[in-house]
Assembly symmetry: C2
Homo-oligomer: 357 residues x 2
DNA sequence: AGCATAATTGTGAACGCTCGCAAGCTGGTA
DNA sequence: TACCAGCTTGCGAGCGTTCACAATTATGCT
C-alpha cells in the first residue's frame, strides 16, 4: 500500500512525484520494497527493540539498497525536536571562544546533533536577543553560550529561554543553568606561586579590559596572591597596568610600568599577546628577559613558543572544555540537575622566567 | 475551524494538545483569530504580493499578539528547503579557515539562513564523505567548503553533492563549482617585488607543507619572481627550506638556511608563525633584523605587530572573503553560473624589512 | 448597466514521519 | 484443548506548512 497509490486514488490522476523531479526514497518506498508497514521501517530506523531480527535485517538491506535517508524535517515536525544545538559565541578575537567551538563540533556530531552557530563577530549584549530568537525559531534542542562578559550572561538569562542551556563562562549564573570554564583565577594563582618560588616579590600585572570575565578573574588571582586575601582587584595599585588584550597595549603598559618608581621584577600579562608586547618593550629598553625581568603570559597562542625568549604561559585546553560543555548539555537535555564546575589549568614553563635578581 | 476541533471530531476524544504540553501557536491559530484561511496567513508570512493591505495588517497584528513563529520543520517538509547552509572547514589551526567562518556567519544570518558547521578539527580527505553525508542528511540548501588541500577538494567533487556549493580555496575545481580565495601567489609576488626594490637578490623562502594549497601557491609566487617564469617550485633549491607552519619549524629552517654556503639577504616565510621562528633563530645567531637580514611573513596573525622587530606581512581579509563566499553561494542557489575569482591581497610593511646590505 | 479582467481569498491534498492503539502470531501453561 | 502472556506487526491519525487550483470579490472598460 504505497503512498503514491493512495494519492492517485484520490487526486485527479497525477502527483508531483510523477513529474520528473525525483525525490529521494522515503520510508514508504522502503516499506513497499521490504513488504512491511511504514511503522516497522520506522522502528528499524529508530532502533526500537520490538522488531524481529529477520525483519530488521531485511529492512536494513532495502535501506542500503535504496539509499534511504530519513528526512529530518518530517521527523522534527512530528517529534518537536530538531536534533540541532545552537552555539552562541560572542567574540572579537579568534583565539579564545572560537577555539571552544572547534572543540564542541566533533562531540556534537558524534552525538548525532547538528551544530548551528551564531553571533561570532561581536560581543554586544544587544545581539543576544536576536540570536536567541534565531535559535528559538530554528527550534534547537539546546544551547551553548560562550560568553566573555557578565552583561551577555545576564542578557541571556533575562530572556529566559525555556531550553536546556549551558554556559561556557567564568561569570555568575543562576542555579538553574549549568556553567563550565577553565579556572582562570586558579591559573593566575599558579603563575604567582611559581614566581614567588623564584624569589619574585614585585610582580606586576597587565590586566585585560575591565568587565571581561577572564580579565577580571586573572587579575583577581594576581591580587589575592600578591596581597594575601583579596576580594577585588585594587584599582590604581602601583604594580597594576591596564591593557585591552592587544600586543600594542601590552607594549604601552610595560613602558608605563617601567617608568614607575618601584620597578617590578616580573611582569604577568593577562594574555600572550600583551606579553609579546611586554617582551618588545623590555627589548626596546635594553632589558633582558629573564635576566632582568621575568615575563609570563596566558593562553599559549600559536607562536609564543618561539617568542624571544619563549614565553611561559597557561595553556587553555579548549578541547577538554568543548567536550565537557557538550557533556553538560547532554545532561541538561536529559533533564538532569545543572552543574557548576571548573576545569583545572596547567602551567607551561618556558625560558621567559628566571630567579629574581 | 480550529485544528484541535478537527481532531476531536475524528479521534477518540482527546488529543496530545489537550494534555498540558502547550504547543506554540500555529498558522491555524492565527487564521482563526484573524478570521481568514490558513492560506492567507501563509501568504502574509511569506510576503506574497496578492494579499489586500487591510488583511495583511490585521493578520500581522494577530501574529504579533499571539507571538506566532513559523515552524521551520513543517516548512522544510513541504518545500524541501531547510534554510540552512553547511560550512565545512577543515583545519588544524585557528587562524586561517575558522576566520572565514566568523566572517560568513553574519552574512548568512542576514540572508535568513542558518549556519551548520562541521569538520573543524582535521583535514583528512577521509572525513569529507561523512561530513557531506551529514549535510545531506540535514538537508542543507547549500554548502561552503573551506579547503586547504587539493585532496579535500577532489574528495568533495568526487562525492558530487547535487547541491549548490562554493569552494573557498586556492585549488583547482571543475567548471561547475564556484571558487574564491585571496590570491596567495600574487601576495607572494608582492613580497618579492618589494624586496627586489630594496636591492635584495638572495631571497630565501621557508615554505609550508607540500600539498597545502596556500603553501604551494606562496612558494610558486616566490619561485616565479626569483627565477623569472616558473611553473613549479624548484625542489632542493639552495634558497628554499621546508617548514610545517609551526614557529619551531621556521626556527629550524632558518638555522638550516644560515648554514648553507650562499647566505640569503632576506627570508620570506610562508606564514607569520614560521617568520616568528625565523626571528628567533636570527636573534640566537646574533643577526640583527633588518640590518643583517630582512624577514617577511604572511597572514598578519595577532601579535606580530609587536614581534621583535614588528613583522612585515600580508594580511588576509577574512571578512571580505566570507562575504564574497556567501554572495557566491547565494548566486549558486539562485541557479546562476559558477564564478572563479581571486581577491587581491595587500602588503603591510613593518620594521622587519630594510635595504639589502 | 454589463461584461471581461484582475485582484484577492479559500479548499483540499500532500510533504515524510511518529504516535497511540489494536490486532496477529507464537509458545507455554493449566 | 483452551487460554493467557509476550513478542511483532499494522492501522489510522496528526504534526504545521505550502502547493495547485478553484472560487469569490473588486475593478476597469465600453
Amino acid at each position: 500500500m504505497n503512498a503514491r497509490k493512495l494519492v492517485s486514488r484520490n487526486s485527479p490522476g497525477y502527483t508531483r512525484a510523477m513529474l520528473q523531479r525525483r525525490r529521494p526514497p522515503t520510508i514508504a518506498d522502503v516499506a513497499r520494497e521490504a513488504g512491511v508497514s511504514l511503522q516497522t521501517v520506522s522502528r528499524v530506523v529508530n532502533q526500537h527493540p520490538s522488531v524481529a531480527q529477520a525483519t530488521r535485517t531485511r529492512v536494513n538491506q532495502v535501506i542500503d539498497h535504496l539509499g534511504y535517508q530519513r528526512n529530518p524535517a518530517a521527523r522534527a515536525l512530528v517529534t518537536g525536536r530538531s536534533q540541532t544545538i545552537g552555539v552562541m559565541v560572542s567574540s572579537t578575537t579568534l583565539s579564545g571562544p572560537s577555539g571552544v567551538l572547534l572543540a564542541i563540533e566533533p562531540h556534537a556530531r558524534a552525538a548525532h546533533y547538528w551544530l548551528s552557530v551564531a553571533g561570532l563577530a561581536h560581543h554586544d549584549a544587544e545581539l543576544v536577543g536576536p540570536i536567541l530568537q534565531h535559535f528559538r525559531q530554528q527550534g534547537v534542542d539546546g544551547i551553548i553560550v560562550v560568553a566573555q562578559t557578565q552583561a551577555v550572561l545576564d542578557a541571556v538569562m533575562a530572556q529566559g529561554p525555556n531550553l536546556p542551556l549551558v554556559f561556557v563562562s567564568s561569570g555568575q549564573v543562576g542555579g538553574q543553568f549549568s556553567r563550565i570554564d577553565i579556572d582562570q583565577r586558579a591559573g593566575a594563582r599558579m603563575v604567582m606561586t611559581m614566581l614567588h618560588g623564584l624569589g619574585h616579590d614585585r610582580i606586576a600585572h597587565i590586566r585585560g579590559p575591565v568587565g571581561d570575565l577572564h580579565a577580571d578573574a586573572r587579575a583577581l588571582g594576581w591580587a589575592e596572591s600578591l596581597l594575601g586575601k583579596a576580594n577585588q582587584v585594587p584599582h590604581g595599585h602601583p604594580l597594576l597596568a591596564l591593557g585591552d588584550w592587544s600586543a600594542m597595549s601590552g607594549y604601552q603598559a610595560t613602558l608605563a610600568l617601567l617608568s614607575r618608581p618601584e620597578r617590578p621584577s616580573a611582569i604577568f600579562a593577562a594574555n600572550d599577546r600583551m606579553a609579546i608586547g611586554a617582551l618588545r618593550a623590555l627589548h626596546d629598553r635594553g632589558l633582558s628577559v629573564p635576566a632582568d625581568m621575568s615575563v609570563i603570559g596566558f593562553d599559549d597562542i600559536e607562536g609564543v613558543d618561539c617568542a624571544i625568549p619563549p614565553l611561559t604561559t597557561i595553556p587553555q585546553d579548549q578541547s577538554a572544555l568543548g567536550a565537557k560543555a557538550m557533556d553538560l548539555l547532554n545532561a541538561a537535555m536529559a533533564g538532569l540537575a545543572p552543574v557548576d564546575a571548573w576545569l583545572e589549568p596547567n602551567l607551561l614553563v618556558r625560558a621567559s622566567v628566571g630567579v629574581a635578581h
